[in-house]
Point group: C2
Chain length 144, copies 2
């Protein structure tokens, strides 16, 4: 569904948000460890997230990554997916046909559209804030 990079990205943002709510800034090492992802690869992903305004960062000692109040409330799953995987999740034909359209639909066009509309709706409705909440209440986990 999502690329590996995108999965890591979502994990990271949820974790950073969770910690940001406690007023804690988190470093790369900690993020990689707590989200069970390769550190060097995570570094690249975090760079992209910062460039896209999804997370904020500070260099130097006591530096690290953080989600400010506005980011915590505004950032949705769709923003992360879009930043990392682009729009292919939302736009492409289910069978990979370039010419597929409402006028000249592929055989699975409508059925596929239903699924993707559901996915799109979910990604738009879900904020990081909501997801981080689960970590706080202990109803969801990023790693055991």
């Amino acid at each position: 569904m999502f690329s590996k990079a995108c999965e890591y990205a979502i994990r990271a943002v949820i974790y950073i948000c969770h910690q940001s709510k406690n007023g804690e800034r988190v470093g790369l090492k900690e993020i990689a460890k707590r989200t069970d992802s390769p550190e060097a690869f995570m570094a690249k992903i975090l760079q992209k997230l910062v460039k896209n305004g999804i997370v904020s960062s500070l260099k130097g000692p006591t530096g690290g990554f953080v989600l400010d109040k506005e980011q915590q409330e505004k950032i949705r799953l769709v923003d992360i997916v879009y930043a990392i995987d682009g729009d292919n999740v939302f736009n492409g034909c289910g069978l990979g046909l370039r010419e597929c359209s409402e006028e000249q639909p592929c055989p699975i066009h409508d059925k596929f559209k239903n699924i993707r509309n559901g996915l799109s709706k979910m990604l738009h409705q879900t904020t990081i804030h909501d997801l981080a909440e689960g970590l706080s209440t202990g109803t969801s986990y990023l790693r055991i």
Copy 2:
């Protein structure tokens, strides 16, 4: 959503089914052309489909690929996806966590489950026969 190979596979099976209904056996070259896919790669994919009993094949002159009556009615999208992409579409965690479960769910577990259940249901309900029908009636297309 699906791998390129899987997209090609679905296109091919729909096309073969469409032609099989007209009692026509189709060769690799024709399949590749009519589904706009690379011939050599399609050859590999067709081999896999034959091994999985999704399509039938005959060697030699007048040979080619065909869906017999039973295959036309029985084969569903899920069978093709499963044969080519395996079960990762249906089983994996949305965030790629190995330990994710109902007891220890990842933060997007339930939301993701909804989407995937919808996808799974669609793939199980949709037979190739249904999809090929659209080609016959001119309401859907594999290429312009």
